[in-house]
Amino acid sequence: MKILLVDDDPVARSIHSALLRLHGHEVVEAADGEAAWQMMQAGQISFVVSDWMMPNLAGVDLCRRIRAAAFEHYVYVILCTAKGEKSDLIEGMDAGADDFLVKPIGAEELRVKVRAGERVLSLEHGLADKNRELAGINSRLQSAYALIQEDLKAAAWMQERLLPPAALASHGVRCEGRLQPSGYIAGDIFNFFPLDEEHIGFYLLDVAGHGVPAAMLSVTLSMVLAPDQMEGSPLRRYDYVADTSEAMPPGDVIRELNRRFQAKDDRYFTMVYGLIDTRSQRLRIAQAGHPSPVLLRRDGQREILGTGGMPVGLWPEMEFDCIETFFYQGDRLLLYSDGVTECMNDAGEGFGEARLLQYLDRERGQPMDKMLTGLLAEIGEWHEGKEFNDDISLLTIEMA
């Protein structure tokens, strides 16, 4: 190690220099503090052994300058004092000295104190290297993260495009929906569409879990359930002879989805699929393990449709029951995902079905989009502004 030895006494300087060289160190010498300071500024010196009492610049002041300069590398400073009095030691430590040697300096004492300093410096070098490495890693992580976020935002945009547009209406039935992913993209998805001259189909589904894998399945399902698909669509039954098709009953639609989407990795989904016959005003709904839709009747009554069902994708060969009722003018139906009712406040209480129903009873007179926006706001308040940990989706349909 290279050591700067500072002493105005040439005899002491040459003895100590020799000792240090004997111990394997490279020694550069300075006869006073000012000369030492010039050498510090010029070269890479990390170790200083300096006498205290010197002309031009005392050892303790050299030490102060070194500390104030804040070189990039740490400088280990040993001060040599004649008296070794406590007041000296305190002043020296205050000035930033790392250690002391009391004159006359013994050879062994010099050796071990220099060795202790070597350990400190090696520790500092190790840390400096680690910091550089970490800074490099951090910078690469930031770039990677930025890329991932870009991808997710693009995916979120694509997913939004799959949803029905605002204020969609068909055959006198209007719909409004809201999708609020817990991250960028959602494992929930919904749709509303005319299936043929008389029928309107709609669904809301929730893939187990959330994040990218759930979203990928939800998008796939959305594609499979696209109403403009003719061949092989689970929504329609084809009579190839007569070349006609008819809307499949909801229980059959879900049964077909269950057949096609058996979970390979525990990933199932819950779903409500509904069919409105606009001529007869018949409403049929199949419910696969999904929260029960709420039907708000024009006269103020409120019905909860169904009690549940088996989720989709768990076991092959399942049948799914269908609930039948009527959908009259002025009636409004709400489908929602469990992200709504399971949303927790600070005390760990869920928003719950009761609170949802209270809200609906109060705000059902509002236009659909206001009702949904208001509901999201109420859920947001309940959750007190924290990150949502499940997707929230809402779909409301009204017979005009």
Binding site: D266, Y268, T307, G308, M310, D338
Partner: protein
């Protein structure tokens, strides 16, 4: 994901000590149950009396474990609280898993 487990004859009783079985712990939950099955346990009572919340991932893990234990094994649930029970009813899991109000009735039924 912590369990308290003990044997009652050939029946393993595993009590879930965590209050929430949600997406973050579901994989470990499933691993633990599969480990119990791998150890040769064919009759398992899962005590859910301390569980206040289970989400879709948790349910997925439960079902996966049921599939692993197979047709000649029994995985039954005991002590499900109201919120957990209503989720089971909504998804018809009360038809898939045998449910008991407490560990003793579960053990009696399995013996």
């Amino acid at each position: 994901m912590r369990f308290d487990d003990y044997k009652s004859g050939a029946i393993l009783v595993a009590k879930v000590l965590d209050g929430r079985i949600a997406a973050d712990v579901a994989p470990r939950f499933k691993e633990a149950l599969i480990e119990y099955v791998a150890q040769g346990n064919r009759a398992i009572v899962l005590d859910l009396s301390d569980v206040t919340f289970i989400d879709s991932s948790g349910l997925g893990a439960l079902i996966a474990s049921l599939k692993v234990i197979g047709p000649d094994g029994e995985l039954v649930l005991s002590g499900a609280q109201e919120t957990v029970m209503s989720m089971f009813k909504l998804t018809r899991m009360n038809k898939v898993f045998r449910m008991f109000s407490d560990v003793d009735s579960a053990i009696t039924a399995l013996s």
